[in-house]
Symmetry: C2
Subunit: 319 residues, 2 copies
């Protein structure tokens, strides 16, 4: 039985790669700039030059089950990266096929949010679960869904865009899509910042430490710091964010009845400040049969490792 998997996380700036065992231990890792080379062939050559010595060091190709890749707009069905806005490679790039030829290994590819879910199932707090959802609360809101033990891809490979589901019809405008009221407009770092600006404006007479911060420097981290210090508006911001997130999670639960929802990403640093209102709003909006059943937890994977782990986990997935 093959012992190791390679995980490659292709981001807009950096590409991280690592060699991972079945238990989720990263034996070797490294990184390179994603857009240093002009062509995808150049990228693959550079990646090969980085990985080859690590593969040799770990016993050679025969010890490897394959390569898993998390990439923006990665399509699991085709192995292609399709029209990724942040990458230099335009159009449709058959990255999985190209890597398969170069490395003589099986290659699986999907988007980063699905890879994160695979990582939770293989190594994290959804270990062995067949039905669960991961939500990444970062700059945006990403999601990966498992149903019946498999990543939900949909008929075209693009399923699982829960950050774009509408939770406040006619509500806040999403700058990227031009659509009003999606979850991502509220439950992301960007959303928390916008909520802060709105609440400060709407409550001009409420004192707040947030007023001492230059609006351009007002981040979700700053809101968190002020909330921990007991600032009323900062606390209200997390209450409001959790309320909306919890309502959205209730909707997801009534769709697929997952065993757990795993939260990941920057906003989870707020801990109970975000978790408690989220859980309350979720439970309040669930019909009886779903109440007090779903585990709502934070990921226990180290943020620095999660992307490599997630990508590598694709290799161990059921087909």
């Amino acid at each position: 039985m093959s012992m190791y998997a390679i995980g490659v996380d292709i981001g807009g700036t950096n590409t991280k790669f690592g060699i991972v065992d079945r238990g989720g231990k990263i034996l070797e890792q490294g990184r390179m700039l994603t857009n240093a080379q002009e062509t995808v062939q150049g990228f693959i050559s550079e990646l090969y030059d980085h990985l080859s010595p690590l593969i040799k060091k770990t016993g050679g190709v025969s010890q490897f089950a394959g390569i898993g890749i998390g990439a923006p707009n990665g399509n699991y069905y085709t192995g292609n990266i399709e029209h990724a806005a942040n990458l230099k490679w335009k159009g449709i790039v058959p990255l999985a096929a190209m890597l398969q030829e170069k490395f003589s290994m099986r290659v699986k590819l999907t988007n980063d949010a699905n890879a994160a879910a695979a990582g939770e199932q293989q190594y994290g707090c959804a270990k062995g679960m067949r039905d669960f959802i991961t939500i990444t609360l970062g700059t945006g809101v990403g999601s990966g869904i498992f149903i019946n033990g498999k990543i939900v891809l949909g008929h075209d490979g693009f399923a699982g865009e829960l950050g774009h589901t509408i939770i406040r019809p006619g509500g806040r405008l999403h700058q990227g899509t031009g659509i009003r009221g999606p979850l991502e407009a509220y439950a992301s770092a960007t959303g928390v910042r916008e909520t802060a600006l709105e609440m400060l404006k709407e409550n001009p007479s409420t004192p707040s430490m947030l007023r001492e911060i230059n609006p351009t420097d007002l981040t979700s981290e700053k809101v968190y710091e002020c909330a921990v210090a007991g600032d009323k508006i900062a606390l209200d911001i997390f209450q409001f964010t959790g309320q909306i997130l919890g309502e959205a999670l209730a909707n997801f639960v009534m769709f697929s009845s997952p065993e757990a929802i795993v939260l990941f990403g920057g906003l989870t640093k707020a801990g109970d400040l975000i978790l408690n209102p989220t859980r309350e709003a979720m439970e309040a909006n669930l019909v009886q049969v779903f109440k007090n059943k779903v585990k709502l937890v934070f990921s226990n994977l180290k943020e620095a490792d999660a992307a490599i782990l997630g990508a590598s986990a694709l290799v161990w997935e059921e087909d």
Copy 2:
């Protein structure tokens, strides 16, 4: 290869049963009262007495692949009916196991909404599709979801309650659940009636044929008749209902990226009056990658046959 399946649809009042071939032709059928017998054993005996001669007539047990049952609160995993409010049998009833013993056939059981989806996949307009959603717009809003070729059941067997997802947070109270703003409070026959009462009240100076109907007699059918006759408020009611339904469908699409959404049930009689605003609102709320891809269609199964067909289709499902 077995030629036939038995479909049994257990409703609050009637139980319908039929013998169905692989193509969806109902060869024999009948019905009985669900609650005529005091015990579930009595129910099974009566069902056996009805079905036995039909099974013999169709070539005997060896010609049959099994029995599929659609029942309120039917749990696919366990084969149990669990705490069904409208049935005489209280608690947890192991109906599949009991029928299996009585009939010496394989028995599969699920709720009626999931059975309806199985029927669409086997015989209807989702034939052969692996990813689709059926929405029943009746007195309530039911749903059945297929992902990767299988019914979505969730970790506990209760997934697919899309009628309870919140689409107007803080909105109309759902009388049954006490929760505000779920899809079912709007996109059901009951919801259309409530919308009618609200709109008539909110627009006292707009003339409408609906005002000539006694409020207790105001049904979604009456609203449809008035809309067809060009009544402005009646037309607005369908526009409003379609808007909300379409927004909800957009959310479902961004969850599972289905190839099709199949609408079924009483409200679909309104045809384009409901379909057009629904499609418009759905497309308007989809992010680019999902636009103009999802087939939004009405079921082509006869309403009188659909329940038996759906139940029988469970027998042909992948395990």
